[in-house]
Subunit: 414 residues, 2 copies
């Protein structure tokens, strides 16, 4: 089963929005064992849409079209698909009622424009999901199929999961299953990881079937993704278990989490498990550490708060940082103990440094002092990041939380 | 002049990374007056790459290929392009020297693998930029041209700006110029803006040439983008001036910034202009307001710091919030005055609320109290956001900063 994706929208070609839909759909297809060899983006233009749809249908068994289903005159996906099917459009009264009900649910009357969204090519089936006002359509073309879904990501996702993937799987019959597992790491570069795992990559290349891939994801860590393909999901899980054990055998110490678990959630879980509360003292990150921690629902179980001491005298007055340079071991250590005292927390992390672009107090950009305070004991380290302002701040966040994670793990073990 | 973009990489099809390159290149082409009708993504596969390159060259005058220029065996863009040109590859000794120098600059020896990156199809020209180790190539195909650049965004961008756009403009001769201007707004929905500007949109539709587009961008505001096309950049600027004046005549009061100026930078500039310092007191945002403010280089001229009071007793002890509910007018007002006192700031913003997913203290998710303190006077408002946790936090940030902006503007005017 081969499926292509065509994204419709002049705004995509002009770069006014980035096409995240095709990447997401591509991932879902891969996870369902359906091959996808091409993504295409075209503008809201009848001839060029027709050409893209026909070419994709020539190459593949199924085509997923996103976008061009809105209520305005430039939304012409419905018309183009009807022409491609060689049929006319008919207004679907049941669909009119459902769209009217969507508006009524928000206390509004349906504008006349939206009636266009109830026009369906004869022979097409309407998907049962209707999260917005644009219906998704299943359009048979000979023995192939073309699906149209809205470009709004959450509407598209509901229809892909609810209607398209089940329909594709049914058409494909028994397909092979692809599964993947992601180990999140911190402490090695991408090329460093590749070197450490070179033998394992060679072994998988020879065997075929499974693959290892690396993906640097900023504050989300450096991901090692294991992908396996087999006849059943039970077999896939067995392969993944085996491969995960092999990979952990090589890089285990720098793996901090799996799949959706980022550094913040891993640290918060460990704090909750040990019954500890956390405070942060931030300078160059300006609140980013606290912001990331509180992105995690339920973070209030362990996180008490932060003091963002951006100005030098705030560091001194509120956190008790001594006179002298504010990017120093003395300063960051005082911040770590000070914030535990001020916010009444058991443990803390503290950071002070030069985010850039320029130097500060004679220190070059990228210079960062980080400290952790656990059971009243402070440990501090100095790092020099070779990055711009944004990445220096991001790498500071994950690095200092990783230092805390390692200390908390040692504390639990000891 | 018609140009297409082809992105190469199986990781794009699998959704492991999102293709931001094509969007960025699309925008640059539009701004240079070069039409682009299609973006394509294909995997690292010889036949499918060849098909995509040939089809794109059939339709367009020029094709920009990103990716597949790395040093490993699966990077085959060079080979496929040579085959398409009907030529062999030759190792370019000058390029070998330049790549070796890149490694030497980082204190490393060039691995043998990287020699492949110095193989160039006969007849192709090497671009002068070499930010990484993958050279960009200009490959003539009959009277058309194919450019290959690496998939690493910053390497690609340097080559696009330095070599490809100048080459395309030269080939195109006198092209029409496209320009755009973005007004950033806060305080109206997308459909509300569209209704307010309906007459202007109709007028532009009738005239042709210029367009208005809306783009909701979360914390970056709701953008109104004016695009104009004319023979010269002077004419384009005149049309944009005229159109901007018309649009501001209708929605002026909710425009907070232009183009790259986000809410944080606008507020910081206004604080610096009035000689005021700022502190923030954050609960549900957890540090996100401070983090966004300190994303702006030079924010230390006005920003003193934050107290992130996530736990209830931190709000009371450190900021002087009275006993009683912490999501209330009394609490947020005390936070706003308290943080001015604690951090020694002239003005402040404060937020407390329920980010969700669940309710808290009998308040439903999305309930947010926001306050601003200017010249010792506090103003507080309550909002109920119909969003998830992430968007509730983001909309809180831009909303409270917008409240401060309006008070600062009134202060300057009065």
């Amino acid at each position: 089963m081969l499926c292509e994706i065509v994204a419709v929208g002049t705004e995509l070609l002009l770069g006014q929005i980035v096409d995240t839909n095709s990447a997401w759909i591509g991932e879902q297809l891969a996870l369902s064992g359906i091959d996808c060899h091409r993504h295409t983006a075209v503008g809201d233009n009848r001839e060029r849409m027709m050409a893209a749809f026909c070419e994709a249908l020539d190459r593949a068994d199924a085509v997923i079209v996103t976008g061009g289903l809105g209520p305005t005159q430039d939304d012409i996906t419905r018309e183009v698909v009807a022409e491609l099917m060689g049929v006319t459009m008919e207004r679907d009264q049941e669909l009119v009622d459902r769209i009217e009900a969507r508006f009524a649910g928000r206390g509004r009357k349906m504008p006349a424009n939206n009636l266009r969204q109830a026009d369906v090519p004869v022979g097409a089936t309407t998907m049962s999901e209707l999260p917005g006002t644009a219906p998704g359509l299943i359009c048979p073309v000979g023995d192939k199929v073309l699906y149209t879904v809205p470009g709004v990501p959450w509407e598209m996702k509901e229809m892909l999961e609810g209607s398209i993937l089940p329909d594709l799987r049914r058409r494909a019959g028994a397909v092979s299953v692809i599964g993947s597992r992601t180990l999140r790491t911190w402490g090695q570069s991408e090329s460093g990881l590749a070197e450490m795992l070179a033998d394992e990559i060679d072994r998988l290349d020879l065997e075929g079937g499974s693959t290892l891939a690396f993906l640097a994801s900023g504050m989300e860590g450096l991901k090692v993704r294991i992908t396996a393909k087999a006849a059943t999901s039970v077999e896939v899980e067995a392969i993944l278990d085996d491969e995960e054990a092999r990979v952990r055998g090589v890089i285990g110490p720098i793996v901090f989490g799996m799949d959706g678990a980022n550094m913040e959630s891993v640290v918060l879980d460990e704090l909750v498990a040990q019954g500890l509360t956390l405070a942060t003292a931030e300078s160059l990150t300006g609140g980013l550490i606290g912001s990331r921690l509180t992105d995690v629902p339920g973070s209030s179980r362990a996180f008490r708060g932060s003091v963002v001491a951006y100005a030098g005298d705030v560091k001194r007055q509120l956190l008790g940082v001594p006179e002298g340079p504010v990017v120093s071991e003395e300063a960051v250590s005082a911040m770590a103990t000070g914030v535990c005292r001020v916010l009444g927390a058991d443990v803390s992390v503290a950071v002070t440094g030069v985010a850039g672009p320029g130097p500060q107090d004679g220190q070059e950009p990228g210079t960062v002092w980080m400290a952790t305070c656990v059971d009243g004991e402070v440990e501090a380290v100095r790092v020099l990041f070779p990055f711009d302002r944004v990445r220096t701040r991001q790498f500071t966040v994950i690095s200092v939380l990783n230092l805390l994670r390692l200390r908390l793990e040692a504390r639990r073990g000891g």
